[in-house]
């Protein structure tokens, strides 16, 4: 499956009706070494654009928004187990944040694909 990206640098990848969500490589690089992250509990529901998680580097605290509406069915135990470096090492793979059960897949249509996101980042 391919990833879609938000302007706030979250990515989402859909498999069936489960969306895996994380922050982009660009976001992880901008943030620097992650020193703290807070993930939502399983069972919590979010609308697209809601504050969903917090990630902090030595430099700053950043909100992570839900790139798509859904209910949390799993959170990454690496991150809740305080293995925060995984967010810097593999932000778009092992450093995923949560899996959401998605109701409306059409919300993805408003997000950028890989090429559009690469262009967007270049312009920042």
């Amino acid at each position: 499956m391919t990833k879609r990206y938000t302007k706030d640098h979250e990515w989402v990848e859909l498999s069936g009706d489960i969306a895996t969500v994380g922050i982009s490589t660009y976001a992880a690089e901008q943030l620097g070494d992650v020193v703290y992250a807070e993930l939502p509990a399983v069972g919590k529901s979010f609308k697209q654009g809601d504050d969903m998680a917090v990630v902090e580097s030595a430099k700053t605290a950043s909100d992570v928004y839900a790139p798509i509406s859904g209910e949390v069915v799993e959170s990454n135990s690496e991150i809740s187990g305080e293995n925060w470096p995984i967010i810097n090492e593999a932000p778009q793979a092992g450093g995923w944040f949560v899996k959401l059960k998605v109701a409306d897949k059409s919300e993805l249509d408003g997000l950028m694909d890989e090429a559009a996101y690469a262009d967007y980042v270049k312009g920042l």
């Binding site: 620097g32 070494d33 020193v35 703290y36 917090v54 902090e56 030595a58 305080e82």
Partner: protein, 387 residues
Amino acid sequence: MSDAEPKKLPLDAIWRARTSKFGDFAGYDMPLQFEGLIPEHNWTRQHAGLFDVSHMGPSFFALPKGHGLEGDEAHKKVASLIERLVPADIQGLKPGQVRYTMITNEDGGVLDDLMIARPAEPAAAGDLYIVVNAGCKHQDWALIEEATKGEANLVRADDRCLLALQGPTAHVAAAAVIDPALGDMNFMTVKRYDAFGRITVTRSGYTGEDGYEILVRAEHATDLANALLAHAEVKPIGLGARDSLRLEAGLCLYGHDLDPTTSPIEADLAWTIQKRRREAKDFPGAKRILREYELGAPRKRVGIRPNDRAPAREGVEIFKDGKKVGVVTSGGFSPILNAPISMGYVDAAFAEPGTGLELMIRGQARAATVVPLPFVPHRYFRPKKGA
């Protein structure tokens, strides 16, 4: 202030070649980060970091030419003028001594914190070297001129470069690149050297480490910076790590941990007000400051360690048993402790180390503990006795 583009540092090209991460700070386009905040922080604690702090306000304050005074007499005269604005004993400085102090207002609040030095050279008797904060320099210089009009001259030196070299091997690099004599300077002293033009060097800094601040004319600054950066112990460090280093060292950042409502006593800076001034009671805000000195201040700056991993940053409210008792003024992550750290002001009743508090972070109360400052011990250079 204007909306003008931030000013470029004289050494802009040197930093630009090493990083693209810049940001506007006090009207200057400053390098924020090179290798990464945490590696830069750790490098400075283990080796030597080079910081460009040319945005700050170095200046010379001098009796008018032909003042006819010499030595201690000339110094006492110029010092008495600046003492109209600060509560430190400046008259008592020995030649070559540097002192940390603050400009206070009539309400006993702090308008800026600064360093004042008495030059070591006899020919400079009647001069003071004064370094103020970037964001306050126009205010400070105006205040100094207004309070001393016609009696002394203030000469800005912020067209020069101010470089801070900080860390346990700063003396090795400074001795190799500038002059072996730099290794023998005591902490909180100043001396001029005929190298890279004529430079003014203080053994001081704001990281908790040994080190130097070097005032160099812009035309020689590139050579000096390049020579230091070529030394194996030296790496460039951005403003980001400067902030985490001073926080670990428990040092105040003006505009955050100090402001016009905060008294030096609340800020736990009573040690900066020497006995002669406390007895003379002749500085701005003396009434409040001395009352708090005697009876204690209603609130106090403290170190705070969150009990879990969530950093508590500036603005986080502090509670005790559900009642608000203070606010965080600086907070972040300590690379050395590998843990979050904060400074803040709390009601005096809750300022004892060991006191349990709650930090309200994103609507959730989290347990924290008052700890002594600094978080990481200072390692300033003191000469070995009888060596």
